[in-house]
């Protein structure tokens, strides 16, 4: 099938339906963007003022000047990148081990990992909170990053990917005198880059958007991530910081996500289509 044929095959009603769908999805975004470039004072009386000029970038200037928002952005970046790096390292090593190494209780352990997929976060959040409190990990970066590293999905995903790589390559490398580490690092790991990209993007997005655990673990605003920080701003009942400022914060928070989506769209689409493993 050629790349253009799906588009050529679109009928009028389908196109109309897609346009309506796109409009429904885009309207809140455009509305948020418009509100963010209006002064708080102009929106105080009627938010409909967003539809007409004058527009201003004052709200964005205020964000950049606000020490806390920058701090939250930095926190989100540290936590999301830390979690992503940790998940990739651990999942790759565990996936290689489960797919390629022989060790006692390998199958039972893998089953144990799979069980992790069936346990919702809600079920463990209280004991985790108590454990982290005992260890004094709340209000710290390790406290925000560590829970994200325990997910089973990455291990499962990477194990399946390693299993799909022909064993001939391992054997060729062994005959080429490669050690296990060299086999992993020089031969197999480079072949998993598409899977790493997919897993990395999803881990980053999930971590960036995570709200619940940072809300529990970070109780001082210095350790808020952007999601928790913005939510705390919304609880400002009198909206003294203003609707325009709030919307500018929302746009500001979604910019990194947007960049990730644009840069990694190929991997995201491939993962969605379920063809991540070749």
């Amino acid at each position: 099938m050629s790349a253009t044929s799906p588009r050529a095959g679109l009928s009028g009603p389908v196109l109309a339906l897609l346009l309506v769908g796109a409009a429904v999805m885009l309207t809140p975004m455009v509305w948020t963007l418009l509100l963010s470039v209006k002064s708080n004072a102009a929106l105080l009386g009627d938010s409909g003022a967003a539809l007409s000029p004058p527009y201003t970038l004052d709200n964005y200037r205020a964000i950049l000047a606000d020490r806390l928002t920058s701090r939250w952005l930095l926190n989100s970046l540290i936590v999301s990148l830390g979690t992503t790096a940790g998940v990739l390292v651990l999942s790759s090593l565990a996936g290689f081990a489960f797919a390629r190494l022989e060790f006692p209780f390998r199958r039972s352990l893998f089953l144990f990992v799979l069980l992790g997929l069936a346990i919702p976060e809600q079920a463990v959040i209280l004991p985790r909170h108590q454990l982290f409190a005992t260890l004094g990990l709340h209000n710290s970066y390790p406290g925000l990053i560590l829970p994200g590293l325990t997910g089973s999905f990455g291990v499962f995903f990477m194990t399946q990917y390693f299993r799909a790589i022909p064993r001939d390559l391992d054997e060729a490398a062994l005959l080429d005198g490669a050690s296990r580490l060299r086999l992993f690092w020089s031969v197999l790991l480079p072949l998993t880059i598409p899977a790493q990209a997919t897993l990395g993007v999803f881990t980053f997005l999930a971590s960036w958007n995570d709200y619940w655990w940072p809300l529990i673990s970070a109780t001082t605003s210095d350790y808020y991530t952007l999601t928790v920080g913005l939510a705390s701003a919304q609880m400002n009942y009198a909206q003294t910081s203003g609707l325009g400022f709030l919307m500018a914060q929302a746009v500001f928070a979604s910019v990194p996500i947007l960049i990730v989506y644009i840069v990694f769209q190929k991997q995201i689409v491939r993962a969605m289509a379920g063809t991540a493993v070749r």
Partner: protein, 365 residues
């Protein structure tokens, strides 16, 4: 001194025995083909020599050094895999350099060896390409190149031609024959294709049912198969094995009677054969010909005609249901359904005893 020696090598997977006390010696620079049907143990044997499988017992020696406990990379063997197993993310040059870098070979020497191998294999223009950008035949050459640069004492080739189309297969077969002239090492090739084995190998090792059935030169195995399995497995079309009984007599050579009553005088020495013992009369197609009724040993009905241009194979069914294959001239007029006379060349016939042991026409007479 033998280049490679296998002594009593055996291997089981759980309760399933896959190799039963295999012993073999391979001379320096010899090209050996392991030939056998699927499940005969030929690939397992190759993998045990390579170190990719561990034997349950027995010894593997290469040029005077016992290697069966060494890791694959330290054995001095190189292998060309059936599906090539080239590293897809590396260029051809990197593929060839990988093993040498692991062995600590200095870079100038790596470059020199790659340049030389690339020249011999005519892949100089492909060195910076990745395997995915190359054709099957080119990948095959790279796989061979990767083995050559290591300058191993023993080359192992696992079904080296099976992934190539017919034209490329013939060409690569010639190239493999040329390659062995250039390398100072023994070669072992696993194949289930007897044409490949017969055209390339100095000696063939026919395996079946976990054991070596026969070791010998291709013509020796074709002309004097050790048992009924080898007789039927080597040669295309396969040898006909007709049930028969040894007739009493004082002749030097055995005379047998086929189930249908026809008698055949062979050149197989009688000594040791018991009168009346059941045997199988082994006949290659070239030793059965079409003949007029008065000169024929047997009458049969033609059920299939295979025309190969220079000759024709005629599959004919005897009255007792036995199928026999005869060879006729290329322009044979015979057709399916014809009744034909078959003349058996008893001088070239083989006899197989009830346990399968082969007896052959006395070459000295």
């Amino acid at each position: 001194m033998a280049s490679l020696a296998l002594k009593d090598v055996h291997k089981s997977y759980g309760d399933t025995l896959v190799l039963d006390r295999v012993s073999l010696e391979v001379a320096a620079r010899e090209l050996i083909a392991f030939l056998g049907p699927s499940g005969s143990g030929k690939s397992t044997l190759l993998r045990i020599i390579a170190g990719l499988e561990t034997a349950d017992g027995g010894e593997v020696w290469l040029e005077g050094r016992r290697i069966d406990a060494l890791p694959p990379g330290d054995r001095g063997v190189a292998m060309v895999f059936q599906h090539y197993a080239l590293y897809p993310h590396m260029t051809v040059r990197e593929n060839m350099a990988f093993g040498l870098r692991n062995a600590g070979v200095p870079k100038p020497e790596i470059d020199a060896r790659i340049a030389q191998a690339a020249h011999v294999l005519e892949i100089e223009a492909q060195l910076e390409k990745k395997p995915g950008q190359m054709s099957g035949g080119q990948r095959q050459r790279v796989a061979i190149g990767r083995a050559i640069v290591k300058q191993p004492k023993l080359f192992l080739l696992d079904e080296p031609l099976s992934n190539l189309d017919a034209a490329l297969r013939t060409r690569t077969r010639v190239e493999l024959a040329q390659l062995r002239q250039r390398v100072d090492a023994a070669l072992i090739m696993v194949t289930h294709d007897q044409a490949e084995a017969m055209t390339l190998a100095d000696r063939m090792v026919v395996l079946n049912e976990r054991r070596i059935q026969q070791v010998g030169t291709p013509m020796d195995i074709y002309a004097r198969p050790a048992n009924a399995f080898v007789a039927r497995f080597v040669g295309s079309p396969a040898m006909t094995l007709a049930p028969a009984t040894v007739m009493p007599g004082n002749d030097r050579f055995a005379r047998v009677r086929l189930a249908g009553g026809a008698e055949v005088m062979t050149r197989v020495p009688r000594n040791g054969l018991v009168d009346g013992a059941p045997v199988s009369l082994g006949l290659r197609p070239e030793h059965v010909s079409l003949a007029p009724a008065e000169a024929a040993t047997l009458q049969a009905e033609v059920i299939l005609v295979e025309r190969l241009g220079d000759r024709t194979f005629v599959y004919a069914c005897l009255a007792d249901g036995l199928e026999m294959i005869a060879q006729d001239i290329g322009s044979s007029a015979v057709r399916v359904g014809d009744r034909v006379g078959l003349r058996i060349d008893g001088d070239a016939a083989h006899l197989f005893e009830a346990d399968g042991t082969g007896r052959h026409a006395d070459a000295a007479t």
